[in-house]
């Protein structure tokens, strides 16, 4: 009789017989006088299979299985040697499983994704079968070969949303198109369940979250970042499998930068053209060095101090104002005709150093409501008899 492999032309070579193989021949159960055993009459089908499944957000399990069909006589013992692979590379040792004849041998590996990371997970198994040594005249192991499972592709969860927004001072959520809040969403990328949000600080920037066990959250700034650095790390965690870091910068209006050519002093005040006027222009910039047009702002004076018996009336702050530009200006002025002591004078050459009055001065942006917003300027507003200065 021709064997099937010859008939099909697919003759395959088996691994070399182990050294101990002939020993077991002594135990064979041949039919006296026939030279054959009952197992020599059996045809069996060896099977091997690999399987991979994502258990939950943070675990992948892979299985290899070996089993025999039509094994009525010889009672083969199936073996499965399984590795778990990530991107085609072994990440485990070999796990070997066996089973009694008639049952399925299986071996498995479980990986925790927080430790092994994203990628393509597969089972890679080797299958072999050992015959019942007391039955066959041929006791050699049968090696079926390797199987590889379909891949389970694992991606890390991700966060989407604005990664830079504003700090405008306590209680200010927005002003002039500047927002102190950002909506963030978690993309599970195949993970399941509700994620947990975590915030880590690496500088001065701070945020609060509207919820920490939710798919979408609203972040509200609590403090500006250090300089213009992304010093806040946000992650979402699905059952222990954490997203890539989402780095956040909290920017803030930071300072008034004097525009070149200012202050400018001139004779005459706006009311009667006597005395003097000093004009300042500043450019409002933020912690990232950019100009910030569109914010509201207001000035405040502290306690006034009079000098040299001065009776100058204290200057009153301008009302809060909106500004479509980033340039803010201040006009300091005094007329000569108001019975001031010391009298105001037109510009002297050189300018005099005779002081009349002064007060602490602050400038705040982000709100029209006094008391809210972020202070960006602070100095002393000094009135000399012939000019004014922020100093």
């Amino acid at each position: 009789m021709r064997n099937r492999s010859e008939a099909s032309g697919k003759r395959r070579l088996l691994p070399r017989r182990p050294m101990w193989a002939p020993i077991f021949i002594l135990a064979c159960c041949a039919i006296p006088g026939s030279g054959q055993t009952p197992c020599d009459e059996e045809s069996v089908v060896f099977n091997g299979q690999s399987y991979a499944v994502r258990l939950d957000s943070n675990h992948v399990k892979t299985y290899g299985s070996s089993w025999v069909v039509n094994d009525q006589l010889e009672l083969w013992t199936p073996y499965d040697g399984a590795w778990q692979q990530l991107n085609g590379t072994d990440i485990t040792t070999e796990a070997i499983g066996s089973a009694n004849p008639g049952a399925t041998a299986s071996s498995a590996w479980t990986s925790t994704l927080s430790g092994t990371g994203p990628g393509s997970y597969t089972d890679y198994s080797y299958h072999w079968f050992v015959p019942n040594q007391s039955c066959s005249s041929d006791t050699s192991t049968d090696y079926l070969g390797y199987t590889r499972s379909a891949a389970v592709a694992i991606q890390q969860p991700a966060i989407s949303g604005a990664n830079a927004f504003w700090w405008l001072g306590s209680g200010v959520l927005s002003d002039g198109g500047y927002y102190a809040q950002a909506a963030w969403s978690a993309d599970p990328n195949g993970a399941t369940g509700t994620p947990t949000w975590s915030v880590y600080y690496y500088g001065s920037g701070q945020v609060s979250l509207s919820c920490t066990n939710c798919t979408s959250t609203t972040a509200t700034s609590l403090a500006a970042s250090l300089g213009c650095t992304a010093d806040i790390k946000i992650t979402v965690n699905y059952g222990g499998f954490t997203s890539n870091p989402f780095w956040v910068t909290i920017a803030a209006p930071a300072q008034l930068v004097l525009v070149s050519g200012y202050p400018q002093d001139k004779d005459g005040n706006p009311n009667d053209s006597t005395g003097w006027t000093s004009v300042y222009e500043w450019n409002l910039t933020d912690t990232c060095g950019y100009q910030d047009p569109g914010l509201d702002g207001y000035e405040l004076f502290g306690q006034w101090t009079q000098y040299n018996g001065s009776n100058w009336p204290s200057a009153q702050p301008e009302p809060p104002a909106s500004n479509s530009a980033s340039i803010w200006n201040d006009e300091m002025a005094k007329g000569e005709t108001y019975g001031l002591n010391p009298p105001a004078r037109p510009l002297q050459n050189p300018l005099t150093s005779i002081q009349a009055e002064s007060a602490p001065w602050t400038f705040t942006v982000g709100s029209l409501t006094v008391g809210l917003g972020l202070q960006v300027g602070s100095n002393t507003s000094m009135y000399y008899v012939d000019h004014g200065r922020h100093q």
Partner: protein, 174 residues
Amino acid sequence: MCKRCCVPLLLIVGSLAIVGVPAASQERVQAGTSAPAVDDPGLYLGLFSFQQILRKDAAGDRANGDGLLRAVARDYHISDADFAALGKVADAVLAKLPPIHAAAKAYSSSEVAAGRMPDRAKIEEFQRQEADIVRGGMRDLEAALSPEGWRNLHAYINGAYRLTVVRKEQIRAK
């Protein structure tokens, strides 16, 4: 060839193997490996056995056990209820097989004891019984699952699952 003469002959063959005789010299031959045919009973037998392995795994893993079964159900594209039905059918099929195996073993032992070769037709009958039980399980499975569940599972078994199974038919040279 009698037992007495086969022993020294095979000893020689084994010794030759040790010193490097090509593996092709071995007498056990095999057909090439391949994926099983669509709806091959062996395919279902493997799947049924695997269900028991899965549930044993799940029972031993208090933390992730339920998650394992739900994950596999999702992978099969069937509901948890259909997955449970699959487990019941698998248990029923696998419970029917050991008596056939035992009967085959008892038959062959008695024949050998009587100095006779077991009848090939009788052995094939045992194999046929096993295949019939598995085929019955396939029918029971179709009946036990929801129509959508059966459609999806059937597609899975003959698609993704079948393509990860390697089989090889072993036929002894006579």
